[in-house]
């Protein structure tokens, strides 16, 4: 697998199809980290194994990475999904990015262009794994008071470092809502209200857009299981609206559920 990726990266770079390949390389100790290969001869530094889970798609939006030229990106399923969503959100054109796609079955997927990527993503709709669903269900099974206590405990650790935001490919807004101060929608200080508002807001703003890559949870320095919030919404969207829309909140069905409306 790794060899195939290296081979592909070499081809892309030496053929001039791309100027940079974004992939995974050796990090501190047994960590892997994002690397940016600009010469074919460096492609051998690319790694692909079970540790390579960081969602690299966000780098496609980063000014200094874009400045390097056309990029190819090593992309597992969540990255592919992110790219598809970012394309839907008009964040880049077909010509900006090439993908070295890797299927969930750990096979290289041939995705010659981003349309192929979109098709591929559409053919593999987002679903929670049974384990993920079980964790969501575990919280659902609690009483409301227990859930409140659970989240208050978790969010009380939040230091508002915004690693969740920075690590999320979907959080590319030029100015995040929390930085909009006229009016000040979200309480900035990292007190209980500020933390809770931040996480509710973020989850809602990711509704219908989150690809369940889990980067927020991995990035959080204090270990808040943030992705649970997104997973709850992903499940809600699947249950209530189906999967056909690109963005569930910009669409509707006349017969959407309304048993809660009087």
């Amino acid at each position: 697998m790794q060899d195939k990726i290296i081979q592909k990266a070499k081809e892309l770079l030496s053929g001039g199809a791309v100027q940079v390949v974004i992939g995974y390389g050796q990090g501190t100790g047994d960590r892997v980290r994002a690397i940016f290969i600009q010469k074919p001869e460096d492609a051998g530094r690319l790694i692909m194994d079970g540790r390579c889970v960081q969602n690299l798609a966000g780098y496609l939006m980063k000014h200094e990475v874009r400045a390097l030229g056309r990029a190819a990106i090593v992309a597992r399923m969540p990255v592919l999904r992110s790219i598809a969503q970012l394309m839907y959100e008009e964040q880049f054109k077909d010509s900006d990015v090439a993908v070295i796609g890797i299927s969930d079955a750990n096979e290289l997927v041939d995705l010659p262009d981003l349309n192929a990527l979109k098709e591929y993503v559409r053919a593999n709709p987002l679903k929670l794994t049974p384990e993920e669903q079980a964790e969501v269900d575990r919280l659902d099974a609690m009483t409301r008071e227990e859930r409140w206590a659970f989240w208050m405990e978790e969010t009380s650790k939040c230091i508002k470092c915004y690693a969740c935001r920075a690590s999320c490919p979907m959080c590319y807004c030029a100015r995040c809502t929390v930085e909009v101060n006229q009016p000040q929608w979200i309480s900035v200080p990292s007190h209980d209200l500020g933390n809770l508002e931040w996480h509710i807001m973020r989850a809602m703003h990711l509704a219908g857009r989150c690809v369940n890559c889990g980067e927020c949870t991995r990035a959080c320095p204090v270990g808040i299981p943030l992705r649970l919030l997104n997973q709850r919404i992903i499940a809600d969207i699947a249950d209530n609206f189906g999967e056909e829309e690109d963005y569930a909140l910009a669409a509707f069905k006349p017969d959407d559920k309304e048993d809660f409306i009087r």
Partner: protein
């Protein structure tokens, strides 16, 4: 001891519920005084963050109301709003926020009596739930000031 008087903030659309509430008035249908209406053009305009902020601001309950499905003055604002609420409600509930305190309803311009009923029911239900101090006190400004004044 005096009965707890909940503070309820209502976000309503201009064309249906606001006008419906006008009809409640023209019809002189008496109801509880606890609700303060904020008029918006459409339920589609109602940002979920407004609902959050209402609680932070000290509301014990929130009413969100607009045109019945298919009746939206703007064709589909209420449909968009409904989707947003489905997710928002579920998220709040998942986080342990008391979603019972947000009352969603459709009240048309002709349903003056229904508006009075929505208000009265909301007041009754929120009163039974008690003050929403759990949320209000998240903000230090409320929590610490309150306790100091109480002490």
């Amino acid at each position: 001891m005096a009965e707890f008087e909940p503070k309820i903030i209502a976000f309503v659309c201009n064309w249906c519920t606001y006008t419906g509430a006008d009809l409640t008035g023209t019809s002189r249908i008496k109801h509880a005084t606890n609700v303060r209406i904020i008029r918006l053009p459409c339920t589609g305009r109602i940002d979920f963050m407004l609902l959050m902020k209402a609680f932070a601001r000290g509301a014990d309950g929130v009413i969100v109301s607009g045109c019945h499905p298919n009746d939206c003055h703007y064709t589909s604002g209420n449909f968009h709003a409904r989707r947003r609420w489905i997710l928002f409600r579920s998220l709040l509930n998942f986080m342990g926020v008391d979603a019972r305190r947000i009352i969603f309803s459709w009240v048309s311009a002709a349903e003056g009596a229904k508006w009075a009923e929505v208000v009265n029911t909301a007041v009754k239900e929120i009163r039974a739930l008690g003050p929403y101090d759990e949320y209000k006190n998240l903000a230090p400004i409320r929590a610490s000031w309150r306790t100091e004044h109480a002490g």
